[in-house]
Amino acid sequence: MSRPEDILPPDLFYNDNESRKYTTSSRIRNIQADMTNRALDLLDLKSPSLILDIGCGSGLSGEILSEVTEEEGGPHTWVGMDISPSMLDVALQREVEGDLFLADIGQGVPFRPGAFDAAISISAIQWLCNAETSDVSPEGRLRRFFEGLYASLRRGGRAVCQFYPKNDAQRSMISGAAIKAGFGAGILEDDPGTKNSKLYLVLTVGGGGLHGDITGVVDGMDGVNVLDARRKAMELGNARARSPRKGDKNWIINKKEQMAKKGKVVKQNSKYTGRKRRTAF
């Protein structure tokens, strides 16, 4: 499938026609709603909060934020930023409750330090990896965005950004930029290895009452990859010994699992799996 990021810059790609299509397609709406609810779970907000919606578009996720019931700690008040005027126009027509800003998140986040309780971003930050003019770079845009976001969240605040990286390089570029800005960062992957796989970058500002891992949210969840620069240095030695090298037992088991998931016939694992043959006499 082609990536919209590769076609045009976001403010041009989401023109009137695309914005309308995006907002009326029930398939996109469902996916977007699922992801927003997942992100809300991860944010774990206990009381009505002020939330920044990064790349709010037509307010599909904002609507969900406004509709959180009182028992679940809502409803939340939100402020949305988006670069596409057409998308914001659709949001206006739909009369969403949040405040809207026409702004480029790659230019920073223009809010006072400590303003927001939380931030949410659904399918937006991969756009930062594209530089549309020669006087900006993806690294610079990512840096300004994450530094601005870090400052505008209050201590103990959280941000959850769902994104679609093009490849592993983009994924590590984005998470690396977040860590550099000072966030504690973790990546959560839902349905890994399938077409529906969704990546969530979970970011925390300052550690208030966190235990276990750095994000404090992904504790005890499966398929979690926590990026913690502080721990990384310590574990570097161990990791080298443990990382599966091509051809060793872990690598083979991993491959077999992948193949089994694809529906291929795979031999059962046994104590002989991945064991060296004795040298021939």
Partner: protein, 126 residues
């Protein structure tokens, strides 16, 4: 744009990040609009410690609400429902529909149209 948002937004120009005079942004030619919203005392209590009261007084003055108390209601004053309702009305229900936000430091003008503020900057200001 809600008044509460105006209390949090700053100038996006790089040089203004450190300047004292860049906050709050000043409203010019503002047209106001009142929109009913559900009253949420919890939210007001949560957000109030983060509100810059001096800036709010400046903003309210520019928008033509002179009757703002001199100091921020704190402690027991927050149990008074009328106080919270007044705050709710000012912070959340009052919108600026049209107008300009002007930075006191660099003088950059951010246009507000249909309640949406335009914070796109030319690249040399970023």
């Amino acid at each position: 744009m809600k008044v509460i948002t105006a209390n949090f937004v700053t100038c996006a120009v790089k040089e203004c990040k450190t300047a004292q005079t860049s906050f709050p942004l000043h409203f010019h030619d503002a047209e106001l609009e009142q929109q009913e919203l559900d009253f949420q005392p919890e939210f007001i209590r949560n957000i109030l410690p983060r509100v810059d009261w001096e800036a709010l007084r400046v903003t309210a003055n520019e928008l033509g609400f002179p009757s703002i108390p001199e100091s921020k209601p704190e402690g027991e004053a927050l149990d008074n429902e009328q106080t919270l309702r007044d705050l709710h009305r000012l912070l959340l229900e009052t919108h600026v529909a049209e107008g300009k936000l002007v930075c006191g430091n660099c003088g950059h003008q951010y246009m507000i149209k249909e309640g949406i503020a335009n914070f796109l900057l030319p690249s040399h200001l970023v």
